[in-house]
């Protein structure tokens, strides 16, 4: 019999070596379907690297892709830290986006200095509202938040489709289910001329740093860690667990809402029902890869965005199916997750020692 035990100490060399090794292993695995599709994996990987780091444009595209992942990654990381399983970031993202286009598309004609902050704040609030119900049900009745948040995603997306064919539909949109565009002064300023990369990235990284500092140094962060690590001891020590959980839920929803704001007011300009290709769910993967560390979320987002963007441009350059790109993405994610598992746990032969 073999059982799994957490490693007491994680050596420094393994924290560097294991991610590199898992990346190499994932490239080896991904070569198999590439060869089967008739492509030379070496050339394919060169194309992949070019697509991510080959030019300023490539890098900016990759970072554009990473921006919403940082937001949803933070949403998951902070909630999971408190053992609050918010699976509803996808829905909360759309709530934030709905708020952004509602306010930004002409409801208020405000200067940029006022309109953009207003969109950001109210978008975050809208995302947070999406967590109020599940958090209340959990704290009051012990309802499982995995179920409530997950199911809310579908409700919100159908609600969005209704809005896009009704009150929010762009009168100039030729009947397409899309919202009116956000005013120019409501948009995130671009970071580089004539590229899609926008200042939402700055906001995302800034918030990651703030969350990191709060978790590490504030009383609020202390309580969050205590509740997540051992809620019965935290309760025994006089920490109000329900209040902590509620606060974390609101914040988590808020970050997910910001992902929607940043996609609408930073990239697309208007809202459609396919705004997010699953950024909310990808945020969970990001958070797990990051070991629930807020700064790690930034790195993990960049990694996942690189794989996505790289695999896309590889399939375009090599003329192979884009399904292969998805395959490469999945294989590398699995390898990295297995790698991080190996770095944290060890396998022990059972039957010796106690129990």
């Amino acid at each position: 019999m073999i059982r799994i035990e957490p490693r007491e100490k994680i050596s420094h060399s393994s924290t560097v070596l294991i991610p590199i090794l898992s990346a190499v292993v994932s490239l080896l695995f991904a070569a198999i379907p590439l060869i089967a599709a008739g492509a030379n994996p070496l050339i394919a990987y060169v194309e992949m690297a070019k697509g991510v780091f080959g030019s300023i444009f490539a890098i900016s595209e990759m970072l554009t892709r990473a921006t919403p992942l940082i937001f949803t990654g933070l949403a998951a990381a902070i909630a999971f830290r408190a053992k609050l399983w918010n699976i509803g970031a996808e829905g909360q993202l759309y709530l934030g986006a709905i708020a952004a286009v509602t306010i930004g598309s002409g409801l208020f004609d405000l200067p940029a200095l006022l309109l953009l902050p207003l969109i950001i704040v109210l978008g975050a609030c809208a995302g947070a509202v999406g967590m109020v119900g599940p958090a209340y049900l959990k704290v009051r009745f012990g309802a499982d938040e995995v179920v409530t948040t997950l199911l809310l995603n579908f409700i919100i997306i159908i609600f969005l489709q209704m809005l896009l064919e009704g009150p929010l539909q762009d009168p100039m949109g030729l009947g397409w289910p899309q919202s009116a565009p956000i005013l120019d002064q409501g948009m995130f300023p671009p970071l580089i001329d004539r590229m899609r990369l926008h200042s939402g990235l700055i906001l995302a990284v800034f918030l990651a740093v703030i969350v990191h500092l709060m978790i590490k140094y504030s009383v609020w962060g202390f309580k969050l860690r205590a509740v997540g690590e051992n809620s019965s001891a935290a309760k025994h020590a006089g920490i109000n667990i329900n209040r902590s959980l509620f606060g974390v839920a609101i914040l988590s929803g808020g970050f997910a809402g910001l992902a929607g704001v940043s996609e609408v007011a930073g990239l697309k300009g208007y809202l459609t029902a396919d705004l997010s290709p699953g950024f909310g769910y990808a945020g969970i993967v990001v958070a797990m890869l990051a070991g629930l560390s807020p700064l790690g979320v930034v790195i993990a987002s960049v990694f996942i965005a690189s794989v996505f963007v790289g695999a896309d441009s590889m399939s375009r350059a090599m003329g192979i199916s884009s399904f292969l790109a998805d395959l490469v993405v999945s294989v590398s994610l699995l390898c990295v997750l297995v790698g991080s598992f190996i770095s944290k746990f060890k396998l022990v032969r059972a039957g010796t020692g106690k129990r």
Binding site: V219, A226, A233, A237, T352, K354
Partner: protein, 505 residues
């Protein structure tokens, strides 16, 4: 039936860290015999049986079992399947049944080849039917186990063991969950089976059952076999004195006359989900300069009492007065701020947050103290200095103050909790099993601190299963049984022992 040894445990010793759970225990079991294994909680009964069954590997000693040709052969230790193969069946206190499949499936589960298209149900049913008619054990085979009563589940457990051809049956506190009628029926059935050659070891601390049902009894105390006798020669008094021992370790010779009342319960009742977590009209009065010892077998309501004083549970009826004022909004923070220091029973689950550092755990109850935080941010220099001072003063040792506290040993975790509690100079101290699992040094350290707190003017509520500890420390003793507190007329060890077991009032 001719007496022949079917099982012999030779000098089994098991240590958990610095705690000696079993020390050189030798036990023999005869064929067709019912052997009762008695002892207080923590005396090492369950550890001993877990070694027999292969869950634990003993540090020294061996087990011999009768083979098919009546010779004693050594049993492979640390391997439950070996124990099963030679016919040892164990029925745990907490059943190991799958609730979502039927009794029949539970009984045969794992005893059949894993992959077989035709599970030979007919033969299995015939075999179970034969066991049932021989033993008198009866259970509805085609009902989901989740729908069975506790007594039925236990019979399924026993049938499961017998189906695997057990000829030695170990029952861990079999009657703890049964009604008296179910218990009687169980003993009748067991007697029938022992007449057919089954040998039974049953673990208990209920004396009445031992006296009326067993052939022979063995008493364990502090992990050692302290007495073995024929049940016919035993008496309640004799067993009680063996169980609780005769030596008294007087730690506090100095008596101070108690002062004013600082904590009182007036007719407090709590309706819990089961009897173990209910209280029934409890009155209690703790004075300053007093250690109030609460003796009793665990599971009689001690945990609810502790939760009330910790602020985790509110009474359903009655009132709790702290220093003369009734408290209506009971929560842990309120209790901490009112000067109640709490040493919880389960150090790992309630005492510390294992993932937080030692320094952080030392201030976890003081988070809104302006000395610890300013403007919502922790003052790490103060926190580190505090940890530095306290770890030296209370001798907390471990890999480092900024390391996760789960890396500390049990004794050091307890010292961490003591440091946190006693540094606040609490007026009222709740110490729930404060020395359980600690080695002698750490235990006497804890006891010394409790006495210091009393001498300083505090009141201590000491909940302990270790009667020696209570007799040595407490100024006044009450016994907790069935969710109620009973005053004791004498501090005579045997009298208290009998009261704990519910044999006297």
């Amino acid at each position: 039936m001719e007496a022949s040894t079917v099982l012999r445990l030779n000098g089994l010793t098991k240590r958990f860290g610095s705690v000696l759970a079993n020390n050189d225990v030798t036990i023999e079991l005869q064929k067709g015999e019912v052997l009762a294994l008695l002892g207080e909680n923590g005396a090492g009964k369950t550890t001993l049986m877990n070694m027999l069954f292969g869950h634990y590997l003993p540090d020294s000693g061996n087990v011999e079992i009768m083979s098919s040709n009546s010779d004693l052969v050594p049993l492979e230790l640390g391997n439950p399947s070996a124990a099963l193969a030679v016919g040892i069946g164990m029925v745990h206190q907490h059943f190991t049944l799958a609730e979502n499949i039927t009794a029949f499936e539970n009984i045969t589960l794992g005893a059949e080849p894993l992959f077989s298209f035709n599970r030979n149900q007919k033969i299995a049913r015939k075999k179970i039917g034969k066991i049932m008619s021989n033993s008198g054990l009866d259970a509805p085979l085609d009902t989901l186990v989740g729908r069975l009563s506790v007594g039925e589940k236990q019979r399924v457990e026993i049938l499961k063991a017998l189906y695997r051809d057990a000829h030695i049956l170990v029952l861990d506190e079999p009657t703890a969950v049964l009604t008296p009628q179910e218990a009687d029926a169980l003993f009748d059935n067991l007697r029938r089976m022992t007449n057919q050659g089954l040998s039974v070891i049953f673990i208990t601390h209920k004396m009445r059952e031992v006296l009326s049902f067993s052939d022979r009894l063995i008493v364990l105390r502090h992990g050692e076999n302290v007495g073995s006798m024929k049940t016919a020669d035993a008496s309640e008094k004799k067993i009680a004195s063996l169980m609780v021992g005769s030596e008294t370790k007087k730690v506090s010779p100095k008596k101070i006359s108690p002062g004013k009342s600082i904590l009182s319960f007036n007719g407090v009742s709590v309706v819990g989900r089961s009897k173990r977590d209910s209280l029934n009209d409890v009155n209690l009065n703790l004075k300053s300069h007093e250690i109030l010892g609460i003796a009793g077998i665990s599971g009689n309501g001690q945990n609810v009492l502790a939760d009330l004083i910790s602020g985790l549970v509110s009474p359903d009826k009655g009132s709790i007065l702290l220093k003369g004022t009734a408290i209506d909004n009971i929560n842990p923070l309120h209790m901490i701020k009112s000067g109640v220091g709490r040493i919880p029973e389960d150090r790992h689950r309630q005492g510390i947050v294992g993932g937080l550092s030692v320094s952080e755990n030392l201030i976890i109850e003081r988070l809104d103290d302006p000395e610890i935080q300013s403007f919502g941010f922790l003052r790490s220099s103060v926190i580190n200095k505090n940890a530095d001072i306290l770890s030296k003063k209370y001798d907390v040792r471990g890999p480092g103050l900024d390391h996760a506290s789960r890396l500390l040993s049990g004794g050091n975790i307890q010292k961490l909790i003591l440091a946190r509690v006693f540094e606040q100079q609490p007026e009222i101290i709740l110490a729930n099993q404060p020395t359980r699992g600690l080695d002698m040094g750490a235990a006497s350290d804890v006891q010394k601190r409790l006495i210091e707190a009393r001498d300083r003017g505090g009141g201590v509520i000491l909940i302990s299963e270790d009667l020696d500890e209570i007799l040595g420390l407490a100024d006044r003793i009450v016994v907790m049984r069935d969710g109620n507190l009973h005053d004791v007329s004498s501090s005579n060890r045997e009298d208290i022992g009998l009261m704990m077991a519910g044999e006297a009032t």
